[in-house]
Each structure stands twice: as C-alpha cells, then as structure tokens.
Amino acid sequence: MLPDLLIALTMLSNFSLVATSRVSKAIQFAVLQGVLLGLMPLAMGLGRHFHIVLLAVAAVTVKGWLIPFLFRRALKQVHIQREVDPYIGYTVSLMLCALGTGLSLLLAHNLPLKPGTEYVLMVPASLATLFTGFLLLVSRRKALTQVVGYLVLENGIYLFGLLLVEDMPALVEAGILLDLFVGIFVMGIVINHIRVAFDSTDTRHLAELKD
C-alpha cells in the first residue's frame, strides 16, 4: 500500500516539476522526489537487506542533502530565480507530461511483469518519470534546470531498478550510484566552467557550434 502511495506522490511531483517556473521550486520538487524514491525500498519492505538500506541512505543523503546544497550554491552564484521563456510553455509541458504518462502506461501494458509482483505501478511510473526528465531537458533553457531534468530522468531509472534490486543488487546499485555521481558532480563542474566563461548558465550562449 505504502509503495503505491509513494509512487503516486512521485507522479504528482513529476507534474509539479514541469508546471513550475521557479528554478528553486523545480529543485525542491526534484529533491522531494529524490527523497520519496530514496525511502521507496524501505516502503517495499526490503529493509531486511543491509545493502539495500545502505542504498536508500545513500540515495536520500545525496538527493536530499548534497544536491540541494550544490544547487543552492550555483543559484546564488548565477542569481537566477525563474525560467524565463522556456522552449516549451508550461501548459504545453503539462499536456506533454500527461501524454508521456499515458504512453508509459501503454508501454508498461506491453511489458508483462513477473507473475506475483505486486508493484504493477512501478514500471509505468518509472517510464513516466523518465519522460518527465526528458521533457525538462528538452524544454528548458537554463543549464541548472536541465541538470534537474537529468536528475529526474535518473529517478525514473532508479525507480525501475527497485524492481530488480532484491535479486541483482550489484548491477542495480553500482549502476545507479555511478550514474548519480556523473549527473551531479561532472555536470556541476561544467556548469561552474560555463558560469565562469559566460557568467550566466543560460544555454542560449551555448549554441555557437552549428552547420
């Protein structure tokens, strides 16, 4: 019961993510989502596995504490509040997000789960989150928001990973943690470079190279 609730909240946070115009809000939602998903394994009653608890803790700390910290710093340095004129407007984004959710339901319908799994919402939710992340990446101009998008995309994968985490922990955990690391640190570094080079993180400056 609890997992489904968390999943529902995740979906909700997806919508609020694409709907918000404030970068800081977006970050908060991402963090919220991260924490929710971090608690997911415990909610799934996997608490008995120590390594899974570790994973959960790591996820919560990284997504709930480290990432917000980094983002706050970046925000202060580039002092931007809101995402002005995104490539795709908020209403349209919402519709697209809904569309993506519907699509992920369709897809999940074609991907039969192992008989006996009770988390039927897991796959559609993860796909929906994935698409949401993609949507953010595609529709926003600010490098920061794009990283948020990447983070959400990551959450989607993490969510799917939870399906497998009990049976093949090594694969899932290694993958997910490493991916987190890349997403955050490297991009953080580059964003820093960008800020220094362009003293702004608006990706409009990053469109010189073309044919």
């Binding site: 093949m168 080079a197 010189e208 190279l209």
Partner: protein, 485 residues
C-alpha cells in the same frame, strides 16, 4: 594478464598526473601504448579456455576491438609528444592522464563478461573523455564539452535502463545473478521477449548515442571539431568502438534469443539513416574537422549496416572497425597538422595543402581516397565485402542504397577535399611556423601503411580471430563454445 591490461594504463595515468615535467609526461604515452600492445598480443597469443564464471577475459570479439583500440592508441601516442610540444601554452597534465585512463577503461570494457561492468566502463569512459574535448579551454570547446556530456550522459542513462530491462528479461526467465554473457547466451531462449526487445531498443539508443548514429550523433561534429586532431582520432576510432562493442554484446544476446530479425531491421535502418544524414552535412562542408566528424557518423552507419546484414557483411563490418579506425586516425591527425599550419580548419582559408604541408597534404588526400574505398586500402575491402554481402544475400535494395549513398558521400566529400589539398595556398592567410616533421608525420605514415597491408593481406591468426569475433557478435551457437583468450 587481464588485470595487467587494465591496471597498467590506469597506474600510468596516475603517474602522468604526478609527473611535473611536460616532456617526460608526454613520453609516458607511447611507452604505455607499446607496453599495452605487447601485453595484449601476449594475451591473445595463448589459448586458454575462458572459465564461464570469469568476470573478465578476452574473447575473440573483445580481443579484436581492444587490439584495434590499442593500435590506434599507439599511433596517437607516438604522435602526441611532437604535437604537445607544438602546444606549449596548454598544460597537458589532464590530457595525458585522461588518455591513459581511457586506455585502461577500454581494456576493462573489452574484457568485461558482464553487461553491468561493460556499462560501468562505458560510463567512466564518457567521464574521462570529457576533459579531452575541453583541452583548448575556450568557449567553443566548453560548449562542445557540455553538449557531449549532457547528450552522452542521457544516452548512457538509457543504456543503463536497457541493461536493467535485459536483466529483468533474464529475471523473468528465471536466471539470477551473475548474468555473465556466457550465461545469457547459453540460456538466451529463456529470456522474456518483450523485455528483451525493449531492452535492445534502449541500449541501441543509449550506446548508439555514444557511437554517434544519426540522429543521436549531434554532439559529434562539435566535439570532434573543437578538440585537437589527436583526441579526435581517439574518439572517432576508440570511444565509438567501445560503444559499438557494448552494443554488439547486447545484440549477440538478442540474436541468440531468436530476436535477431527484429534487431537487424533496426540496425539496417540506423545504418542507412546515419549515412544519409551524414551525407546531407558533408555537402559543401567548409570545416574539415566537422567533415571528418560526419564521415565518422557515416562509418558508424556502415558498421551497424554491416552487422544488420549479417554473415559476410557482419564479418567485414568488424574488419571495417579496424580499417576505419586506422584511416580515420590518419585523417584526423593530418587535418590537425594542416590546422596547425594554416591556423584555420576552414575553407576558403585552407587551400593548396599539398604545397604548404606536402606530407600532411598527401596523407590527407590518400587517407580520404582510402576511407572512400580506394583499393588496395583496407576500407575498400570492407566496403566492397559489405556491399557484396548485402547484394549477395538478396538485400538488393539495401545494397543499392548503400552504394548510392557511398557514391553521393564521395561526391560531397571530394569537393571539399580537392579544394583543401590542391590549388595554391591563399596569400592573405598568415603563415604559422609549423612545418611537417618526421615526428608529426611518421605515425600517420605507419597507420596508412598498416591500412594498406590489411587491405592486401590479413594474417591467418587475425582472420581466425575475425571469424570467431563475427560469429560471437552474431550470437551464433558455434561462437558460444568459442570463448577464448
């Protein structure tokens, strides 16, 4: 042995980071390159049956790809000291470290017997290559790096999801960890088809992004265009090969599971699309490095096309991996030299290269002719065999389209190349002190010579290896027993 192949470069990377003297650091690269190649040859020499439970080890396919990468690395490494000496203004501590790191991770990828490990290696490869693109530390290179990183990470994330899907397919089939390739191949028939297909689609998109298949290639022209030719060569020949290998591993499983037809359709489609897309951007392309980037897209297309056709074409697609890597390195490095000499990589400033930098000019021209399929260079052999493989197996339309695309691409590419190479250097362009020196041309000549030799004569062991590799890549039953160092 397996560990040595991985650790030697990594330790060397650490060493390179520690060493303070630039010249000394520059010479670590060739030393390690030779060492690595030697180790690899030794490893390939022995015939030990690889235990099914091994986490690491070279099979024919991995061995072949790693051999290509190692040779390519040697070429670039021997070119590096002279080049880096030409760029005293740039500190190359990070560059050397990352180059060596890449070699180590490539060895890891090539030897990984588990999709997860392969994925991890691929991911880290992305990480270490990003600073290479940023070598020039200017806005343009920063932009290129950013695009490379974001697109690459997204792709790699998709690849992760795909890998997880495959794992879930195995999970549904009742297979449990550890899901080594050997295991997956042997029990391929148990895997759940829907998840397998979905997993393949995701990995195709993911690793395809790293390979640079159109339309996932968009980072390529920027990245290759803004890095030194040295890095460009390594990216075009090395990183793409890694991604290709990772993709092939998954493809082998899919094919073994009996979903080959589905996968091959996708591969052929991607191949065609990549060639066509590359063609569009090669027409009247004024930037030689971007031209080469698109040519790389084209050749990635040729690779997957060949695999998609299968049989003879698949075998020679793997051969083309080597041919392309060698000739591309010549193209990138000679383009780099020309860039050095003209302080530009753009038409109409770069003309008459044969007169200003004769050796590099000739190398550029010959390599261009080679890459577009002039016998007796290796690419001719592979392109001819892929075409005849396609036509011979009844893919008349596919083969015809393949040849037509090759022809049009030649038309587009040759126009720029002829302008660059022939004629007289434009007068108003400032003349840089750069002159062709043995140090900056010998490695290229060696590479081209190697491509020539491969086109005429393929040593027996290599042929055998290629046969095993192609059967492995196609997930054929014979291959599953043939896992060997």
């Amino acid at each position: 042995m397996a560990w040595l192949l991985i650790l030697v470069p990594l330790l060397a990377a650490a060493l390179a980071f520690a060493v303070s003297s630039p010249t000394l650091r520059a010479w670590i690269l060739p030393a390690v390159g030779i060492l690595h190649l030697g180790l690899l040859l030794v490893a390939l020499g022995g015939w030990r049956a690889l235990p099914a439970t091994a986490w690491f080890g070279l099979d024919a396919l991995g061995g072949w790809v790693l051999l290509v990468i190692s040779v390519l690395f040697c070429i670039c490494a021997f070119y590096a000291p002279a080049y880096l000496a030409l760029r005293p203004e740039r500190d190359h501590r990070v560059l050397s470290t990352c180059l060596l790191g890449f070699l180590g991770l490539a060895s890891l990828l090539a030897q990984a017997r588990h999709p997860g490990i392969a994925w991890v290696a691929m991911e880290t490869t992305t990480l270490v290559t990003a600073p290479l693109i940023y070598f020039n530390h200017n806005r343009r290179s920063l932009e290129a790096t950013w695009k490379y990183l974001v697109i690459g990470s997204v792709g790699i994330a998709l690849a992760l999801l795909g890998t997880l899907f495959i794992a879930y397919a195995a999970h549904m089939g009742g297979l449990e960890e550890p899901l080594r390739y050997t295991r997956l191949m042997e029990n391929a028939s148990l895997l759940s088809r829907p998840w397998l297909r979905a997993g393949f689609v995701l990995t195709l998109v993911g690793y395809g992004t790293k390979m640079g298949l159109a339309p996932l290639h968009t980072w390529k022209p920027d990245a290759y265009g803004e890095t030194p030719g040295l890095v460009g060569a390594l990216l075009a020949g090395g990183v793409t090969s890694c991604a290709f290998l990772a993709l092939l591993r998954i493809y082998a499983v899919v094919a073994a599971a009996g979903e080959g037809a589905f996968a091959r359709e996708l591969l052929v489609a991607f191949g065609m699309l990549s060639m066509a897309w590359a063609l569009v951007f090669m027409i009247r392309q004024t930037d030689i490095k971007r031209l080469l980037a698109y040519s790389s897209v084209e050749h990635m297309g040729i690779l997957v096309f060949g695999i998609g056709i299968g049989g003879l074409a698949a075998k020679f697609a793997l051969f083309h991996l080597a041919a392309n890597a060698l000739v591309k390195s010549v193209l990138f490095l000679s383009a780099g030299n020309i860039h050095r000499s003209y302080a530009s990589k753009q038409l109409p400033f770069v003309t008459g290269a044969l007169r200003r930098t004769p050796v590099s000019g000739w190398l550029f021209l010959l390599a261009f002719l080679a890459i577009t399929g002039m016998p007796p260079f290796a690419p001719f052999l592979s392109e001819f065999s892929i075409a005849s493989g396609a036509l011979g197996t009844g893919h008349l339309a596919g083969g015809a389209a393949f040849l037509i695309l090759l022809g049009s691409i030649f038309l587009a590419m040759s126009e720029t190349v002829v302008k660059v190479v022939f004629g007289t250097p434009s007068a108003q362009r400032v003349r840089t002190p750069y002159k062709d020196a043995p140090a900056t041309t010998a490695p290229l000549i060696a590479a081209l010579a190697l491509a020539l030799v491969l086109g005429i004569w393929l040593p027996r062991p290599l042929q055998a290896m290629l046969d095993h590799a192609s059967t492995t890549a196609e997930g054929l039953p014979s291959a599953r027993l043939e896992v060997r160092p």
